[in-house]
């Protein structure tokens, strides 16, 4: 009986949130913006994959929503600048979290290049702290770092994050950040990346070397290489 009530409640809730402003529709999720108990909030719905058996699609939505929430909660507990969790509903794939008002690091490079490089160092520290806590982010591009109104840098979107100590998984983060800066901020790519690595090493110390080395290998394998203009020559 209680489960029927819970399902009804969730249905009403998702109907209500479906009326909220849609901010972004990606392959993995749908992001809406609204208020949750008076707080400006992001409503992130995970998409059920239509090419999968409904039970498998549902199981993945459930597991991944739970894992993402767990990673965020854990990251917050380790003092990492992440959005605060407001509510989690794994069975409908919904995470409600604090909306961080601000500018993405990607856009910030157009506002103040010198400060952007400094923020890139902070980004390196945040990823370093995350890795030290045994978590990989999975998509640490400059679009996923937000310079908040109060001037703090925060890391968002833990949709591909996972608990891992594997050098390869951590190295992918480094590589993805490097690729993000070289593909979108060619002019200051070198400075941005150097600062990021500086920040990263300041947290991880000697352990960083092995991971950075592996990130270079990943690049040489040609993996994750995109058909975009590159400035690898400049970064070498």
């Amino acid at each position: 009986m209680s489960s029927i009530i819970a399902e009804d409640w969730l249905r009403i809730f998702s109907e209500w949130t479906s009326k909220l402003a849609l901010v972004k529709r990606g392959a993995e999720s749908e992001i809406r913006l609204g208020y949750f108990m008076g707080i400006p909030a992001i409503f992130k719905y995970r998409v059920r994959k239509p090419y999968m058996h409904p039970k498998l699609a549902q199981a993945l939505v459930y597991m991944r929503t739970r894992r993402e929430a767990k990673v965020i909660a854990y990251a917050l507990s380790r003092g990492i600048q992440a959005p605060r969790l407001l509510a989690v509903f794994p069975s409908i794939g919904l995470i409600v979290m604090e909306y961080i008002e601000g500018v993405t690091l990607k856009d910030y490079t157009n506002i103040d290049q010198v400060k952007a490089v400094e923020y890139s160092r902070v980004a390196g520290r945040i990823i370093g702290m995350l890795h030290k806590a045994g978590v990989s982010h999975g998509d640490p591009t400059t679009s996923n770092f937000i310079v908040s109104k109060s001037g703090e840098l925060k890391l968002i979107d833990y949709g591909l994050a996972d608990f891992t100590e594997d050098v390869e998984d951590l190295a992918v983060d480094i590589h993805l950040y490097r690729r993000a800066v070289e593909s979108t901020h060619a002019g200051i790519a070198y400075n941005m990346y150097e600062a990021f690595i500086g920040g990263y090493k300041s947290i991880l110390g000697e352990r960083a070397e092995k991971i950075i080395e592996r990130a270079k290998e990943i690049r040489l394998r040609g993996r994750y290489v995109e058909e975009r203009r590159t400035v690898w020559g400049a970064l070498r």
């Binding site: 090419y51 058996h53 039970k55 998984d169 992918v172 993996r223 994750y224 290489v225």
Partner: protein
């Protein structure tokens, strides 16, 4: 007018085909497939089989095309990746033909050939490719001179997963019955069992945990059709998800599916659904060309030969672990190189 004789001998198929750069392009296509009576593909059994059928295959390919060896411009050979003993048979035959008749020898990468024949048959020129076979599970896409690997299996290939499970539960060999895999036939009318591991890490998939879990269910008495249904559902879904991430990542607009497992109707259906979701174009390739064949080697050899890629017979060593991203593809945008 250029005519190439191609030889494929990387796994279970000894294939000889003749391809020309004029219609109908495929002049002949001869194949001999080794089917084990029991167990898997043992190189020590397949290699002697290849040696036995090699000369009759070449004779037949020439006869069907109505040509003699003198009409052939070059010999194309799949030097890898594949199983050593089988590769050695094909390479020996190709080297001998090349030296004896003074024909240039063209080295071909088997994985590249699977992609090139798919591009040729569908006319999709710049796709992201899911290559799934007994020995390979990779998502590749061309970028800056080479086919780059965007995701791959971390342990066993998808085809190997299906074959191994089928063998362990004694529904194979034969692995393919009526053009369908034993697992597909077994999964008919099955139901989904929850709780088996689905593993996609970033852009890679992993199947060894799934195989172990499926075998455990079998031993604990679950219905075989349900296990087959679930195993297949999870395995296919995970590679399609890796493909989907690759599609989003590269921004490509076309999708190809190639390799032995590409014969699966269900896998084709799943990719079609995923493609329409992202507004990408997807065309299945004819089933006759999903598995290993000589045509793909001859065709890729034809392009490579036109770009001046040849190898001295004395240097044509086999390469069991020849990775696809080690091969230069200078002809990518000028494909196919056929006379109009």
């Amino acid at each position: 007018m250029t005519i190439i004789l191609g030889i494929e001998s990387t796994a279970h198929t000894f294939g000889v085909a003749i391809v020309g750069d004029y219609k109908p392009y495929i002049l002949s296509d001869v194949r001999r497939v080794y089917t084990p009576r029991e167990g898997g593909i043992l190189p020590r059994e397949v290699a002697p089989f290849f040696s036995k059928v090699a000369s009759e295959c070449i004779r037949e390919a020439l006869a069907k095309a109505g040509l003699t060896v003198r009409d052939i411009d070059a010999i194309a050979i799949a030097l890898g990746p594949g199983m050593g003993p089988q590769l050695r048979v094909g390479a020996s035959v190709a080297r001998a033909l090349s030296s004896y008749y003074s024909k240039p020898l063209v080295p071909v990468n088997h994985a590249v050939a699977h992609i090139e024949i798919a591009r040729f048959l569908t006319s999709l020129k710049d796709p992201i490719v899911l290559y799934v076979a007994g020995g390979n599970t990779t998502v590749v896409s061309y970028s800056e001179g080479k086919y780059r690997v965007f995701g791959e299996t971390l342990d066993m290939p998808l085809g190997n997963l299906l074959d191994t499970f089928a063998r362990e539960v004694k529904i194979a060999p034969p692995y393919i019955v009526g053009g369908r895999h034993a697992i597909d036939n077994c999964a008919e009318g099955g139901d989904f069992i929850e709780g088996l591991p689905y593993i996609v890490k970033g852009q890679d998939s992993s199947f060894s945990g799934l195989l172990t879990a499926a075998l455990r269910l079998y031993k604990s008495g679950y219905k075989l059709k349900d296990i087959c249904f679930t195993l297949r559902e999870i395995a296919y879904s995970s590679v399609v998800e890796v493909l989907e991430r690759g599609l989003a990542h590269t921004g490509k607009k076309q999708i190809l599916l190639t390799g032995g497992v590409a014969a699966s109707d269900l896998l084709n259906e799943k990719i079609a659904v995923m493609a329409s979701l992202h507004g990408a174009e997807f065309k299945p390739i004819p089933k006759a060309y999903t598995g290993d064949n000589g045509v793909m080697i001859a065709l890729t050899g034809l392009v490579a030969y036109k770009w001046g890629i040849t190898i001295e017979p004395s240097k044509a060593f086999i390469r069991q672990r020849w990775r696809i991203d080690q091969v230069d593809i200078p002809w990518y945008y000028d494909f196919p190189p056929v006379e109009v």
